[in-house]
């Protein structure tokens, strides 16, 4: 093959030289060219396989050398295209070394350690993780390395808002499933990993959320990344709330779609962006997929998205809506069906809904619901579904029975008993806190509906301590691409978290109530990170007296703390204190 190419290459050069010396008359040119051309072609007979090429050329020649010349050029172009691989483009970048030099370079190379050893600035964080002994529920036996053991603490740090982890019905469902199916599912859903309980849960869920179909995932955190990447490719467009959780951030990074950000929960901004984009998108042929992506109940801020407005806008500009209901399923709405129920918007307005079984449903895993073709596509092309074992059967069964617990026990107004009790306790605590926390140490940032109450250090107070408005970086918002360098360590973020930890410790010591705070991996956050919040996770089984106690203590502690930590110098003392936590 190579030799043939050579012959043809030389042929072409000779042909070119021949054309320059000839008379301009076209007939003459072509007849002389034809003679020479045929003459050269006879050489081909000497090459093995050349006869075949010759036959082809002869049959295509048809007394028209220009035609053959054209074909030859095409052939050379094609060869050139196939032979120049992408790697070759970087050839110029590669340095030539002898083996000896490479040995020397390998010997000299000093790799960095696999991970940086945790300094005392960071390692205190490890020591404040509470360890629950025994059953997790409304009352727990808890140990932290700093405080020691507390035998009966009220648990306001668990995301099991409906306290279904202590429900007899859920645990007996799980037990009956373990005694017939074992623990693990032992295979991916497409290979004998789909059990009857999985299909039942899919049916239950789609009936509960009033959609066509549902699909289950083995873990809630990977659901977003897998679902988004299955539908959004390069060239597709997402208009995204800039307050979304880390799971969604990562999902959007991986999908490589085009991104536009609107200010967190700012509907006017969203409208502006959509109307600015619409003249460009109207011309698009074929139409690309476009989504509005938002969380229902924001995990970073505790507020809820303005769904009716978003739905109105997305219908006006023909976008699909992707709604992450991880925190809001089993929480918002009269029967816990999430944000659409809360606003009275039909679920069919939402193209893709994802959520979690691991929080309110006291099971594990994640899910996605929507129309049939969308779900069906995921069964083949969603990575976390295809390449991972299916949800443990007992988890599916407990989730099914959790849905039953929520939907079947209703009061006279048709509201779920569990959910309305959660709403009652949430708004009680919210109002009490709102009334008492007036000393400008804490302020509530979450919505009244959120069962996770976010308390942030007060704005003015933070200004006095010279704490920044937000942490992290804005590069993802500005450029649509995450920053190349991760955020790195922030001492002020660390200190602010430490102040909250001190509050948590005090509440646990004084009143035996376990709270928590927002725990973020600052390094991995691509969007600006809100300042750390103290989190109170309301649980239906916690009594009003305990909530009262909490409010009272928080009031006391915030008084004390605001006196103790007044300015930046006090922060420096904390910096020392933290080292020995």
């Amino acid at each position: 093959m190579a030799s043939q190419e050579n012959v043809q290459a030389t042929m072409s050069t000779k042909l070119v030289t021949a054309t320059t010396t000839l008379q301009p008359s076209f007939e003459q040119f072509s007849s002389i060219l034809a003679d020479k051309f045929v003459g050269y072609l006879d050489y081909l007979n000497n090459i093995p396989g050349g006869t075949i090429v010759l036959r082809y050329i002869k049959s295509s020649y048809k007394n028209d050398p220009v035609r053959s010349l054209f074909e030859l050029c095409l052939f050379i172009l094609a060869c050139n295209y196939f032979l120049s691989s992408k790697k070759k483009e970087n050839r110029s970048d590669i340095l030539d070394f002898s083996e000896k030099e490479i040995d020397e370079l390998c010997r000299q190379w000093e790799p960095a350690p696999l991970v940086e050893k945790l300094g005392p600035q960071k390692s205190w964080d490890l020591r404040c993780t509470p360890e629950i002994k025994g059953h997790n529920g409304a009352m727990v036996q808890v140990t932290t390395p700093h405080i020691g053991e507390r035998v009966k603490a009220v648990n306001l740090a668990s995301s099991d808002f409906l306290n279904l982890n202590e429900s007899e019905a859920v645990s007996s469902a799980a037990k009956s499933c373990i005694s017939t199916c074992g623990v693990g599912s032992c295979g991916p859903p497409n290979f004998y990993g789909t059990q009857d309980v999985h299909v039942r849960l899919e049916e239950d869920l789609s009936e509960y959320l009033d959609t066509e179909q549902a699909i289950l995932y083995g873990q809630d955190f990977t659901t977003a990344g897998s679902v988004i990447a299955a539908f959004l490719k390069r060239g597709d467009l997402c208009v995204v709330d800039s307050g979304i959780s880390l799971a969604l951030q990562k999902a959007l990074v991986v999908s490589r779609c085009d991104l536009e950000w609107y200010d967190h929960n700012d509907m006017d901004h969203l409208d502006r962006i959509l109307s600015e984009l619409s003249p460009i998108l109207d011309k698009q042929k074929p139409i690309r997929r476009r989504f509005i992506v938002t969380e229902a109940l924001f995990s970073n801020y505790g507020d809820i998205a303005d769904l009716p407005k978003i739905v109105e806008l997305k219908n006006k500009y023909k976008y699909r809506l992707f709604l992450d209901e991880t925190l809001s399923i089993g929480v918002l709405g009269d029967t816990g069906k999430g944000l659409p129920e809360y606003y009275g918007v039909p679920r069919s307005e939402i193209a893709i809904t994802i959520g979690s079984f691991a929080l309110s449903f006291a099971a594990s895993g994640g899910f996605c619901v929507g129309v049939t073709p969308m779900i069906h596509h995921q069964r083949i092309s969603s990575l976390a579904y295809v390449f991972s074992a299916s949800l443990a059967p007992f988890s599916a069964k407990s989730a099914s029975s959790a849905i039953k617990e929520i939907t079947t026990k209703t009061n006279s107004q048709g509201k779920s008993v569990l959910i309305s009790s959660l709403h009652e306790k949430t708004s009680y605590l919210y109002n009490q806190l709102k009334k008492t926390l007036t000393n400008r140490f804490f302020s509530i940032v979450s919505s009244p509906e959120s069962p996770i109450i976010h308390l942030s250090l007060d704005k003015e107070y933070r200004k006095r301590l010279n704490l920044p408005i937000f942490y992290g970086n804005t590069e993802f918002l500005l450029n649509g691409k995450p920053a190349r360098k991760s955020n790195g360590f922030s001492q002020r973020y660390n200190l602010e978290s430490y102040i909250l930890q001190k509050v948590i410790d005090e509440v646990l010591i004084r009143e035996n109530i376990l709270l928590t705070r927002s725990k973020n991996a600052l390094d991995h956050e691509n969007l600006p990170v809100a300042n750390p919040h103290l989190l109170i996770m309301v649980n239906v089984a916690v009594s009003f007296e305990a909530l009262d106690k909490l409010v009272k203590t928080l009031e006391d502690i915030s008084h004390e703390m605001s006196h103790k930590i007044r300015n930046q110098e006090d922060l420096q003392i904390l910096e020392q204190e933290l080292l020995t936590y």
Partner: protein, 556 residues
Amino acid sequence: MSYKIPNAPVDTRSPEELAEREYGRLKSDDYLYVSRHPVGEPLPTPVDDEPPYIIYISTYISYLILIIIGHIRDFFGKIFKPQDYEDLVEKNGYAPWYDGFESFYVRRLKLRIDDCFARPIHGVPGRFVKCFDRFRSSNLRYTYTGTSTECLNLSSYNYLGFAQSQGVCTSTALKCVDDYGTSACSPRAHCGTTDLHRECERVVAEYLNQDDSIVISQGYGTNANLFASLVDPECLIISDELNHASIRFGIRLSGASVKVFKHNDMNDLNKLIRNSIAQGQPRTHRSWKKIIIAVEGLYSMEGNMVNLPEIVRLKEKYRCYLFVDEAHSIGALGPEGRGVCDYFSIPHSKIDVLMGTFTKSFGATGGYISGKQELIDALRINYITNIYGESVPPPILGQIISSLNVLTGKLNKGEGVERLKRIAFNSRYLRLGLKRLGFIVYGSDDSPVIPLLLFLPAKMPAVSRLLYDCNIAVVVVGYPATPLSSSRVRLCVSSALTKEDLDYVLTKFSEIGDLTYLKFSSGIAGGSKIPGEPPRWSIEEVLEHNTEDCKKPKLT
């Protein structure tokens, strides 16, 4: 008859009989073997046998025909049955959910054999698996008759047979529901850490001879976000070309540079490491901050083992870090089931990041990361699946702890050793039998994953359905999980299977192999009776000699 999957029929058999159906009793001590690689001996390069040319040609022609017919059907279908193509066209100004071109393979090739995938089951996927009977009533719909068929299970990841609904592991899991509930209720750092989590992490670390470990609620999720915590864009990850999707996803998310070496090719790896260190980062030629080599212990599609001794030598020579994904090898390999390190007698401490899953060998779900204390401490506050993801539910922890304790002999002394020896024997027994019968199988001798090559796409449904009719459940895999021309049946061997089960499997395979022309190995991968001739043993001969011969050091 209904479109909905029926409820599982009530099983009236006695508990003893059911237990036997989940985990077959061992009939003779002859059916045991200890899997271990002889120290110092180089790992033999697995020989991938080639079929006759006619097979290759007909494979490509098959795909050509399928593609042409698919396009013809698409062309006429769009004209005459537009309602079937609604999902592929723009509607009211909305783009379709997915491209017609992208989904062509799925619609026109995979859909034809859809009944071979995702067969719904009920009960324990142990020695036998109970599949619901169904028949296809339209393109996407099945009608269920309400009954189910019990099939010999060569499809589930159940290497050590821990998928059981009775016995010590199940009782522990049940007790965990009572003592801890069904859910961990929260991510680890908030209040999702119980004493059970700590215990499980200790047990796992101890089993792997490492300082500490982290358990994660999903194997895929373990890998998918791990690399971002270890590397930044100034680091390099050198990855085997056949690494699992989750590793590739994780690397993509981390933003680090990635280079790929030929599957298990140590010369290529050596060259790649040397050149990478010498060249440094692209354009700037600054030296890499660190280099991580990412490999799997046992490749689930090829049945190959990683050449660990050589990789450890290379990583020490060039001071790279080594990540080993033991998803399939943990439990299934090594005299004590401690994975590839155990199999090659290499101390676990030589591997920097050990990752694995509990799905395959231990009858649970989830994954783990294990390593030096420094690594685990750093990951606890900087590993996003651990911080933001749900924590592992207690019953799963119970299953992990108890199955590991069975393996180390702390529970039911002797049972763990038997399980380990049975998987080793069963893997070799089935592999040798198939080789001798004349099938092309890939992979290492001791691997419990046995891919049997079919090549032609039409043989996938044929073999799957024929075996299903003989009550044997297998997994067939084709493109895109494998190269286009090498569709295969993947057999996952389990300790739960008895020698008689394997004899039955071999007999049926022999018949189906004759029927579908699958016995075309050339003998270069072993199995020949007379060296140099293609192996075509009769089934009687195979069964007669297999028990002794499969325990010889080399399977020939």
